[in-house]
Point group: C2
């Protein structure tokens, strides 16, 4: 396209953004208008993408980090012929694929859900990293950010990651329209404020007028020819560009234009330009499976082993069996034991340093490119990435997360290092799977199974060693449980998982000697829960005593409720959980202080028997 | 102290760090040794602090952001005479004040709990901001960071905040010892890599040898005399400095020294130097109360108003009545309505831009200085700050958080903007209060009450308008609930909160017409819950139907369980919650699609009656 045609295309994108928002009665046309010229030049001249084959391995990847500018994205899809005008005008309506903020669950050309700001770049870095180190395909990753979202720390985690990895297949376009939601940004139109930050993080930068089509074109060309560095194009733009009444004006964020018809006329009216987007280059097909048999590590019953060790060893074995498994570390691989994978498969191991948002974002980016990522850090520090996990579920992203050092049982390090809220966080994630193994063989089997599940999969592991209680050939289906003690005389049921399984068994043994038989269930699958086994236990014993190394809210005790929330009779419930703020102490002292050790379980059981509350 | 004495003090800090960790059998002596000289010079020459009066308004504030170097901190406390040698050696033991990672709940000289890396600087920025704009006292804030933690995005949110606010009362000391937990950092000893990043964020920087006592002294002096900018002192150090065998060596993070006695000898043996820390200047006493009567906004029954509007107006009124209330905004003040406070009290309003970690961190810092902060953003985006909220509870920090735009009822914007996991997150925070009002008067009363509660207080508000159902003089105690429909014939109880209260009332009216009387409870206090009222309803009706604009896990349904987890009979339970991934649609369409509208509630109730499950 020549410059005149590009001008027209930019205006068409504006007009269609205005029309879509007007029809919807909501949306962000002004945020779309500022970036329309940036989008027009990208679409017409630089993007290589086959809209009929969104999974083409040579396709460039485009991420709209400023997801609220979705009208612009959909206008671009229309210009590329991917959607028609009729669909454009379904924007934000019930059942439409064109949501307020784009998601890949609805539209195949959307790489990742955005709308929580500061996430597009981190995830784009994950895709660029996959392109460079895994796919070894020549695709480029384009990310369009707003200026407001550069205040998010996750942007700088991503900048650091991309700069350090020298991702010259990554181009960031910053739409510096000066205005955030409620007013001016910190830096207004000071392009250099942004450019010098990115340069400090080892990026190449280009500062341009974001409405100068030739300058945009040159900047994209410069970005593509820059070797050894990602490029940030810092573009000065005007919010609402093209309509004099609203251009560069405050107070118009996230609002349809008051007089859309007039604005459309000022913009030159409705057009129907069609862009022929460049075809992607033919590239070698993606990774051919070089998979072998899975030989999981094995432990004999009675051995002592930490579930985190089992996680690391099983992960290494999984990596040997499957070439699509990749592992990401938050600079604690020696603690989570993810480093055991690194030793055997260094090419598929990614050190993300202490940047948990970027850790999860990179996993999401790699999952989008077809890899099976396992991201590991302390359970406590996964809270840092909560919003990324939440958005991963909006994307329908299939990622594995491991949280080690769960609970008070870590001992001396104290509460800052203890994952005590992670089960609550992960259970509330839509479509998630939450697993909490108690022994090494169980851990290994669960690690292997999670590879092929959908959605966010969370595995909780423990720091200390525990006795191996299952044989290496036992199976542990997701959604299942194990009944470890059972008789026809059971007076109550203890439901445990992870470290508390061992405490529950010890308590059951002690109670057995006092002629108080209790059932013990290992609820290793916290979500989904094994409804049938829990209901049977409720019918048989009438009372469930849950015990967990986690806060009372949202954890194992609440998970048990999932089996009983459909109007059926509910058993009596007693919940033992961590109700205090722990300090430093040994693991055994911690369990005792929190009231979740064998003695506490036994004491509660005795009390229930004495009060004749249980059967 | 002269240089020779400073050398000795540095060695004493190392020796005491080694001794404390050796006695504990765990801890981080090598990370303490790298920063010992930096600490010695600070303690002896620059810190102004009265250890007998930690609440002295003129005291400098010191934050150990690298909280794992706690042995160094405790060694410094000993050198300052705040603790004795006997207590030093209780490090990491059950009941000791000297935890693995320091917390203010145990030690009065600790400003904030650290141990989750990348939090000390953001919270320090909050304190420096309070010093500059609220306290107007001359105290300085010193933050000691490790180099590894500079990978956390929260550091750069803080850097941006401090640079923009020109906080020249803030000094950051970076202990660049080159080694993280599992190996070298990205930048090793490249001091300029860090310095140029901070300079790009408008900081003054000084690069020094962190074992050159004179250079350290000069750098601190330079920092204190730098006007208009915060200063980052980037210090090259060696991990394990002073003991040849371990100096600058990998693989020794977080481990006591193998031969502590030998190391102590190499360091010159045990000393008992005592530092006379500079007294703080006498400053005018902190803010004298200029409090007036609280005149909350009032609405008449039957009016329409959004709870977010009520939040903003109540907050503004609270700010008029109390001079200690401050408000922090995550660049969505027009949406949360926090801006209504800004209009009346601009001096106590802090724009934190789109940086939710920094938003909460600044609140924690201000709370530590005696202010009563309210930090507001979308409920969905508070997940971004989950780890900061978690650590705030470890600190025992008293902060108010507001999450607006809760649930699917926001409508067209779609799932990225919907808080659907926030109740689960906030309930699991130790010591938290979780409130979810359904009308404007209730909101206003709750806003006022939260000011004086302990711990993390969370208020969930809604985007859309709803009918005012309570009079302006009604009281809503925390831990209470309201029974809105009740008769002796109730066949089940609907428990709702927020938007679903209105749906529940409509359902109850419809059911009443069908001669199916139901009780309706407004459970505005989600944590703590009103056990008595729920138990009474269970006794009276036998079945509770919970309905919430939130995920099923960890929200209102689970909260109801809190009333029944002590072995007493549990009523039958049915839980209506958001079980799908919403798209764009109108608020009413969203409630219907999620199955939490009046029709869905009524349908569930009818089904329970038909199946004779309810009374």
């Amino acid at each position: 396209m020549n410059t005149d045609e590009l001008v027209e295309l930019g205006q068409q994108l504006r007009v269609d953004s205005v029309r879509a928002a007007a029809e919807a009665g909501s949306g962000h046309p002004t945020s779309s208008m500022s970036a329309a010229d940036l989008m027009a030049v990208l679409l017409a001249h630089h993007l290589r993408y086959d809209f009929e084959r969104p999974d083409h391995p040579g396709n460039d990847r485009f991420v709209l980090s400023k997801g609220h500018a979705s009208p612009l994205l959909y206008a671009a899809f229309k210009a590329a012929g991917a959607i028609d005008d009729e669909e454009l005008l379904t924007f934000r309506k019930l059942g439409s694929r064109l949501e307020g903020h784009p998601t890949p669950q609805r539209l195949p050309w959307v790489e990742t859900a955005t709308g929580s700001l500061g996430q597009g770049l981190p995830i784009g870095v994950g895709m660029a990293l996959a392109g460079r180190r895994l796919d070894r395909a020549g695709y480029r990753v384009w990310v369009l950010c707003g200026d407001s979202e550069l205040a998010e720390g996750s942007i700088w985690e991503a900048a650091e990651h991309a700069g350090h990895e020298q991702l010259d297949n990554l181009v960031l376009i910053v739409d510096v329209n000066r205005l955030g939601q409620r007013g001016p940004t910190r830096h207004g139109h000071d392009l250099d404020a942004y450019a010098r930050r990115f340069r400090a993080f080892d990026w190449h930068t280009v500062e341009i007028d974001g409405h100068d089509l030739d300058a945009i074109d040159r900047a994209y060309g410069e970005a593509l020819s820059t070797a050894g560095q990602p490029t940030a194009i810092i573009a000065r733009t005007l919010k609402g560009k093209g309509v004099a009444d609203i251009e560069d004006r405050e107070g118009l964020h996230g609002k349809p234009l008051k007089d859309a018809d007039e604005a459309i006329e000022e913009l030159g009216g409705v057009r129907d330009l069609r862009v022929q987007v460049h075809e992607p280059p033919s590239v070698r097909p993606p990774r051919t499976a070089d998979d072998g048999d899975l030989e999981l590590p094995r432990w004999e019953k009675g051995e002592e082993a930490a579930t985190r060790d089992a996680f690391g060893r099983a992960l290494a074995a999984l990596g040997t069996a499957r070439g699509d498994v990749v592992v990401l570390d938050g600079e604690v691989g020696d603690s989570t034991r993810a480093e055991l994978f690194a030793k055997e498969h260094p090419d598929r191991y990614f050190e993300c340093y202490i940047a948990e948002q970027q850790l999860v974002a990179a996993a999401v980016g790699m999952a989008r490119r077809g890899w099976v990522p396992y991201a590991a850090t302390f359970a406590a520090f996964l809270t840092r990435a909560h919003d990324f996990v939440r958005m991963a579920s909006v994307s329908g992203s299939g990622i594995n997360l491991n949280g080690s050092h769960a609970g008070v049982s870590i001992g001396q390090d104290g509460p800052s290092q203890m994952g005590l809220e992670d089960l609550a966080m992960m259970r509330a994630i839509h479509g998630s799977t939450v697993l909490y193994p108690c022994d090494a063989n169980q851990t290994a089997k669960l690690v292997a199974q999670t590879a092929d599940l959908a959605g966010v999969r969370y595995l909780r592991t423990s720091r200390g060693s525990s006795r191996v209680i299952y044989g290496p050939d036992e199976e542990f289906p997701v959604g299942g449980s194990k009944v470890l003690r059972s008789s026809g005389r059971d007076r109550l049921t203890v439901v445990a998982a992870g470290v508390t399984v061992h405490e529950a068994l010890a308590a059951a043994d002690a109670l057995e000697r006092e002629d108080i038989p209790v059932r013990v269930i290992d609820l290793y699958s916290v979500k989904p829960v094994d409804r049938d086994t829990l209901r049977q236990a409720a019918d048989d014993t009438g009372c469930l005593l849950t015990v967990e190394d986690h806060r009372a809210e949202g954890g194992l005790g609440d998970a048990v409720l999932d089996a009983f929330c459909d109007g059926r009779p509910v058993p009596r419930l007693v919940r033992l959980a961590v109700g205090t703020m722990p300090g430093s102490a040994s693991p055994a002292e911690q369990l005792r202080a929190a009231g979740i050790d064998a003695a506490s379980i036994a004491a509660s059981a005795r009390l229930l028997v004495e009060q004749a509350i249980v059967a």
